[in-house]
């Protein structure tokens, strides 16, 4: 088992690795892990012939692997696949994957991660709602305690496919955030000013902390006695720094700092 390429998915994501291996006309197995799940993509003379991730096989497995932004990859030379589940050209696979990633970006603007919890919405506005069978299957597994990843496992769907279904169900209005009712009320009352700075801050912090971000921004600004509508760059920087210290995961905290520091520097 000879291994000749390896690295971190933080630096190089799955589609880029596929491109590199394809250009090099490589044969073998690309092993990927995000720390929890693992996947494999098999190459033959630079063509992708098979992919597997959890219960998923074929191109769907590649879509799933393409979403991973952390973890590791290793390429094992001359480890052929016994099966062929993919007969698309690499360029077509990559183009489809890009479309899928764009969709996922849209989804993650509403759903922070596969760990998010949702419950059935008791007050459905529309009189009649039509659901597809896969949407029913997901809806039947939602209980306010199971995460999207749990539901994906129960339904034997891919996590990103399940996130797509959740996105649709949230848009239709049959699901709601599973946070306790009183917290939801508090959050509804948080109305942050709609400025370019606050919107960027909200977006970056939501990526790190989820939907509770507006509440944290408001609370932190109060603690620091900062007027969110102020144009004072020192105050903005102080707010960003304090918020970054409230993000428990260091990697996410640095990501938040990185995006907001760039924003701040462009303003100075």
């Amino acid at each position: 088992m000879r291994q000749d390429i390896s690295g971190e998915l933080d630096n190089t994501r799955c589609p880029e690795i596929i491109k590199i291996l394809s250009l090099g006309k490589r044969s073998g197995r690309l092993y990927l892990t995000n720390g929890v799940e693992t996947g494999n993509i098999y190459f033959s003379d630079g063509e992708v012939i098979h992919a597997q991730c959890g219960a998923l096989n074929g191109v769907k497995a590649i879509y799933e692997l393409a979403v991973w932004t952390s973890g590791e990859y290793r390429f094992f030379v001359d480890e052929p696949s016994d099966v062929q589940t993919i007969s698309m050209r690499v360029d077509d696979i990559l183009s489809e994957t890009t479309t899928h990633l764009r969709q996922m970006d849209k989804i993650t603007s509403l759903i922070p991660s596969s760990a998010a919890l949702y419950a059935l919405e008791p007050e459905i506005k529309d009189k009649e709602i039509q659901l597809k069978s896969i949407q029913w299957k997901v809806l039947a597994s939602v209980d306010g305690k199971r995460s999207i990843a749990d539901v994906a496992e129960i339904c034997s769907f891919g996590v990103s496919d399940t996130m797509k279904i959740f996105y649709t169900l949230l848009k239709i209005g049959v699901l709601r955030d599973a946070a306790p009712q009183d917290t939801r009320m508090d959050r509804r009352l948080i109305k942050l000013p709609e400025t370019e700075f606050i919107n960027s801050l909200k977006e970056a912090l939501t990526k790190a902390l989820g939907p509770v971000a507006p509440f944290i921004i408001s609370e932190t600004a109060d603690e620091l006695n900062i007027d969110l509508l102020s144009d004072n760059t020192d105050q903005k920087a102080y707010l960003i720094e304090t918020l970054s210290n409230k993000i428990p995961e260091e990697k996410m905290s640095l990501k938040f700092l990185d995006s907001m520091t760039d924003w701040l520097k462009s303003e100075v």
Partner: protein, 100 residues
Amino acid sequence: MQISGVHGYIVVQGKSMQIKLPSKHKFSGARDRLWPLYKALTDGDQRPGNTVEIFLDDMLITVFLAGTTMLMVLSSLLVNHALLRMTGKLIIANMNKEKQ
């Protein structure tokens, strides 16, 4: 480190020291005086955090530490302190990542 008010920086990694300061800056020739400071600051038992701010009469020295790597930023006292700390934190994190 393109922040208004920053004079320059000094990077120390193990036995190497790189000074990026204007030649007339009073710290540009302070190599010998910086080693004891580096040794004292990289001793983890002596300090609780990873960022140290030293306020002089006319200058602010902000030191970022990660293991045996030290980034020392020299700036005016009127610099945007929070922006400087955030930028330094990002730089030292990247330096540490590259080192690993």
